[in-house]
């Protein structure tokens, strides 16, 4: 049920649990953007947006590249695969559990 990638996945869950960060991911879907361009979409300060970007970066969901004086941010959805795989682990856990229950009840009358 718990795989060795669970810590990495936890950082992805933390990253996507915040509405601002999800909105940033949505913006980055359209292509790479500078921090300033991203910040223009929000009322909060640029340092606040930078902080959110750091969380997304730590989770591996956003990569950054320097273009002259600008830092451009790019979406990387790969870590979400870990979330899906984790759901699949749970699915097979419940499937196995129900099979165990059925066997137990139908064989031990």
């Amino acid at each position: 049920m718990v795989s060795n990638v669970s810590r990495k996945r936890d950082s992805v869950f933390r990253a996507i649990s915040d509405p601002t960060r999800r909105e940033i991911l949505g913006i980055l879907r359209t292509g790479s953007h500078s921090v300033g361009e991203i910040a223009q979409n929000f009322r909060m300060s640029r340092p606040a947006i930078s902080k959110h970007l750091r969380v997304l970066h730590t989770a591996g969901l956003v990569s950054t590249r320097r273009h002259g004086t600008q830092t451009r941010c790019q979406l990387n959805a790969a870590p979400l695969v870990g979330v899906r795989d984790w759901l699949r682990e749970y699915e097979s856990f419940w499937k196995d559990s129900l099979e165990g229950l059925k066997r137990h009840l139908e064989e031990n009358k």
């Binding site: 936890d10 869950f13 699949r88």
Partner: protein, 160 residues
Amino acid sequence: MSPISVHDDRIVQEVTIKAGAQRVFAALTKPEELLQWWAAEGKFKVTHAECNLQPGGKWLMRVTSCGPDAPRALTVCGEYLTVEPPRLLEYTWILEREDLPETLVRWDLDEKDGYTTVRVTHSGLITEELRARHDGWPLLVTLLKSYIHNEPDIAAKERA
């Protein structure tokens, strides 16, 4: 195994058992019974169970997982929310080492002509907050889909 669709934020599994609902309910809520059936060979096994079966009562299970790695013991616990024998059982599910808000497990039992359809629903897996807002998960699904679509390696693995 049936494929899981990534837009699901919950897991639903169902089985029909030749037994009455009372009998199934007992198997779900008595520690000595849980120890007998909650296992899958080569994967996991419940080794200890405690059930204080009443709304607000706590439950706890120790599970040994025996995957490809060395056997590992872990504890899963929670609180009974709804106890309505023999049709409905609902409890929170907290797995140690998973840094997540508590999730929810619900058992629905439907008896008909000596058979009981058992449906287990595990929800809250993508966090309560995301489920409540309804806007988070679709975005993530879109991101994931476009990612898989653009990565031939993963797409090939998917088909394999």
